[in-house]
Symmetry: C2
Subunit: 214 residues, 2 copies
DNA sequence: CAGTGTGAAGTTGTTCACAGCA
DNA sequence: TGCTGTGAACAACTTCACACTG
């Protein structure tokens, strides 16, 4: 959802804001469990070691209104943020490559709770193929075309070995996938209309090591 | 390592640069396997769908020099980037919480290859405690203090349930951990001298869903 | 002339300063 | 006074323009 500024033109939500919102959400849920009803932007800011104005701006993108002197209603924050991030609307995903990481993602309840439903896994290892994990069947990769028509998905998650990332992406794109979530450090070439989001622990590791050593 | 500008003062490496470098590295390694000896910034840029000047600037932080009309030497790029990111120097880490994600991290060879050695796991589940995964022993959490003195580490990885993140962080900080890699979406409060790096798949998921739906 | 390398301009994101409100 | 909310100033990052090099 886009916001509108006071000139009526459409402005984008900053990516950093989108990336921070799930963290806030988790904080709000913890507050709710502790019976907290209202929270101010400065309280949120102090929990995340950041400037309170930035919290205000982030939250303003979701459209929520705070009450002056009181703060924001926690229940309303939770609802509004979940809605804003589309964490309440089910989105199907295919998982390519069922190794350690792939298995961890299937087992991870969190993704399902936040709207992402892995509907099928694909692999080429005969030892994994035709087994099930948490009720999700792992199919041979060559069955991808046929199966994906029956239970379609817009998102393809790539957790294959690095060297197979591009071929799997090509396959998914040819079928008509809309977004690729790439967990390999490998760069992937796709047509401009396909969304790619890269998640690599190496990026985080690089930041940690650099901060430790400097 | 910091760079020096032409006035002799020290300038910081931008975080986005640090986050991109591991991706480049993976690309360089693939080039090497394919026998490529030189690569230009525009070739790198096109693989990652980005501006070639940005690649140049990123690489300049590592201190590498390219040859005009020829590009950068691939072997030298690999060596230089690995060195710059400290991916060649061993760094010990403790893992707190050996669930699906924790197990995946232990099994993930990549971290070890890039300098991060998980030396011990800690959990409170009697079913996991005192077992071993890939030769790494999982200890009861209460043994943390004693054990951590024998095989010390500077990094603590938190893959516990969200609600235990803070208490485990407190424990690690009290012992003297230097950096915390927090895989829970929960925010963690630590003293200013302790580094915290948050890794949450929800941030990436939020970006994907937003781009899909807008 | 096809590449690196870099200062300047432009864009995006964050912080500051302050208006308005209960 | 303590809070939200927002335009303006500032800082960080990216892109542009161009000098330089073999």
């Amino acid at each position: 959802m886009k916001n509108r500024n006071n000139h009526g033109s459409s402005i984008q939500v900053p990516i950093p804001t989108l990336r921070r919102l799930p963290g806030y959400l988790s904080f709000f849920k913890a507050l709710k469990i502790n019976g907290v009803v209202y929270v101010s932007s400065s309280q949120i800011a102090s929990a995340f070691n950041m400037d309170s104005t930035l919290v205000t701006k982030d939250l303003s993108h979701t459209g929520i209104k705070g009450r002056t002197k009181v703060g924001y209603n926690v229940d309303q924050l939770i609802d509004t943020v979940i809605n804003f991030l589309d964490f309440n609307s089910r989105e199907n995903a295919f998982l390519f490559g069922v190794g350690n990481l792939g298995r961890a993602l299937i087992n991870y309840e969190g993704l399902r709770h936040y709207g992402l439903e892995i509907v099928a896994g694909f692999d080429i290892d005969p030892g994994i193929v035709n087994t099930s994990i948490k009720g999700i069947k792992i199919h041979p990769l060559e069955e991808f075309r046929d199966l994906s028509v029956k239970v379609p998905a817009r998102i393809g998650i790539i957790t294959t070995p690095d060297s197979n990332a591009q071929e799997v992406a090509d396959l998914a794109v040819a079928w008509g996938i809309k977004a690729i979530w790439n967990f390999t450090p490998q760069s992937i070439k796709v047509p401009a209309n396909v969304i790619v989001e890269n998640t690599s622990v190496y990026s985080d590791l690089a930041v940690i090591l650099h901060r430790l050593n400097n």
